[in-house]
Subunit: 356 residues, 2 copies
DNA sequence: GCTTAAATTGTGTGCGCAAACAATTAACCT
DNA sequence: AGGTTAATTGTTTGCGCACACAATTTAAGC
């Protein structure tokens, strides 16, 4: 027959105390005698108690505030996708008392980050989602949040030992390696020069991009063939005057056979440039299924995309926070999303499949 | 402020009747006078009432039976993975009164399917998950289940207009095309013969395999190059005496450059054979992250896998049924999972990422 | 000893809903 | 009209839990 789940009531009965005491033990609120504690714990050890989460959320009619500390979605479609994931999670949990409060900072301005992070500490939320893209600037705030007792999860970039509840993202070194493999495959046996292209103001402060490059280079180093020569190009903001000059110079090189772009926005900026300027056979590999990138992939300008799933990252991040706050679940220290390969032939299958 | 959700109580108050009456209207259980009905309906039109699903499942302490009509997991690791997804879903919902009852049939025996399906109708469940791998044999049962009022979802193979609640799986034609693209890429500019390999007793009755082959062939036809010649090989059960002979004959052909296997079990059977017999450079592309396939991929025998995510398919299938039964959610007519490309460089990222 | 405070326990209420149940009203029949 | 049944309504209970509160026990102080 239907083995009904153990309830708090049952535990109380088994250990010869009242439900109140069991409740205090389960949530270690204290106010329990040694004696009673021991009795309940022994029962708890034998019985696999799984609280009825449905009843739990009904019973405690709380309101939770979750703050999200991420780049302004208007500045970059990648972060717009991220925001979409946040919104979706909020929709799901709103009626159960979860409120998401956005704290956007300027993607290109460290000071803006500090400022906004400060505002968060001013009015401490119950939970926090952070995209720590400024390495040095974020570090001190981790401590602040910890001392304030605010649980936080990281997305996009992992910073080990940051005391975070969990990290949601990808292994960026492997991501770079995969870029290497795809580039290698695309070359059809040819050889020549390859370029790694970053589009970022401050590369030294951006662990995530450096990791990708390392992976890409090491893939070819381990191949131990001299067929390819890898170089790096550091592009400034597209509004910068030298932007197009730099790219022109890159295309000059006749032996250039492929470009690996480390950011999603950079990917379509590069594609746009390639489309507008004559060049030999140059394979282009970049990141993420932004609308623009999808377009260029269908046109044949982009050969492969590695999907970082920003929307899913943010969605899962919020979910983990909710799980931690409401359902008292233990979030995994890190949730590494798979490195999804997007090509002309499977892109539609991804577009149709919900979370994109 | 927190805009609290409208409750049944509020609706009752607004329309001047009791909660009991509102309840009867909401679930149209009848026993309501014209007059009262009208009053409640007008309020319901103005107010966007969204029942608190958490409270609902708590309040109604029902037990639901979900039957799963799928191949015996012991016969094929693919279906073992599928079963794992079912188990995971059951674990999640068990304590909320959902029971999953397995009805396994013999993967290689149509009659076994009929027999088992018959047993399902004998003791009708509240919901049903079906893997309709025998096309002709399944059709009549769809009608039976419909007339019995049992909602059912399909996994693995889509049968349009089957009256199913929803289908969970992939577009198999596109899957074949993707196989073609990956094969093309792997060839590094070479040319020669390619083989599509099926491992199935009754190909004519298996839409899913035929669709994959069609996709694979059309990819190369549209390339309009004569670099490749595609042939088909139909393998019988591995226990069959001619099994290894057939494969030996295949390898004889010196121009053979690649093999595309349409099933997951066939993939590692082929890999095993390739490993044990000398051959030129033959690229191998197949399906799914079975343990055996993972091993051969890491060894370098398999070049690419297309992940069909059997576990996830089944998991989502059960979830949709539960959503339909308990939460009264509308399941999407079809949930097409993305065609995931697995290579040596991203396989670990997939292995680490939960659902595998 | 008694009184008071502190520590520990047990009990009760409400969350929003479904469903069993009790109460009321209307309809029908001799 | 009175009695009976059916149709319609309203009230109550319980789901499992969290949390406030009341009750009890123990310790401390005099």
């Amino acid at each position: 027959m239907h083995a009904k789940n153990v309830r708090i009531k049952d535990i109380a009965q088994l250990s010869g105390v009242s439900v109140g005491t069991v409740d205090r033990v389960l949530h270690n609120r204290g106010r329990v005698s040694e004696d009673a504690l021991k009795k309940v714990l022994t029962v708890l050890e034998q019985i696999d108690y799984k609280p009825n989460l449905i009843a739990r959320t009904l019973g405690s009619n709380k309101v939770y505030r979750i703050a999200v500390l991420v780049p302004d979605p208007h500045q970059d479609p990648y972060w717009a996708a991220s925001k979409a994931g946040i919104d979706e999670a909020e929709m799901e949990w709103h009626r159960y008392g979860v409120h998401v409060v956005p704290y956007f900072f300027n993607l290109y301005d460290k000071n803006s980050f500090r400022e906004v992070a400060e505002r968060v500490t001013q009015n401490p939320p119950d939970g926090l989602l952070i995209a720590p893209i400024f390495y040095h600037e974020t570090l001190p705030y981790f401590k602040r949040f910890q001392s304030l007792g605010i649980p936080y999860v990281l997305v996009n970039t992992n910073i080990e030992q940051a005391g975070s509840l969990s990290f949601i993202g990808q292994n960026l070194y492997e991501s770079g390696r995969l870029g290497g493999e795809l580039m290698h495959l695309s070359q059809n046996g040819a050889s020549g020069a390859l370029a790694v292209l970053h589009m970022n103001e401050d590369l030294d402060n951006s662990v995530h991009l450096a990791e990708k490059e390392r992976g890409f280079r090491e893939y070819f180093e381990q191949k131990q063939s001299n067929a390819f020569e890898v170089r790096t190009l550091n592009l400034h903001n597209p509004s910068h005057s030298t932007f197009e000059e730099q790219l022109s110079a890159l295309l000059q090189e006749s032996s250039l056979k492929g470009i690996f772009v480390s950011t999603s926005k950079g990917t379509y900026m590069m594609a746009s440039f390639l489309e507008r300027h004559p060049h030999g056979v140059i394979k282009l590999i970049g990141y993420d299924m932004l609308e623009e990138n999808i377009l260029y992939m269908k046109k044949g300008v982009i050969d492969f995309l590695i999907n970082q799933n920003p929307k899913r990252q943010a969605f899962l991040g919020i979910n983990h926070l909710v799980g931690h706050l409401i359902l008292k679940k233990v979030a995994p220290a890190q949730e590494l999303l798979p490195l999804e390969i997007i090509s002309r032939e499977n892109i539609d299958s991804y577009l149709r499949s919900g979370m994109h």
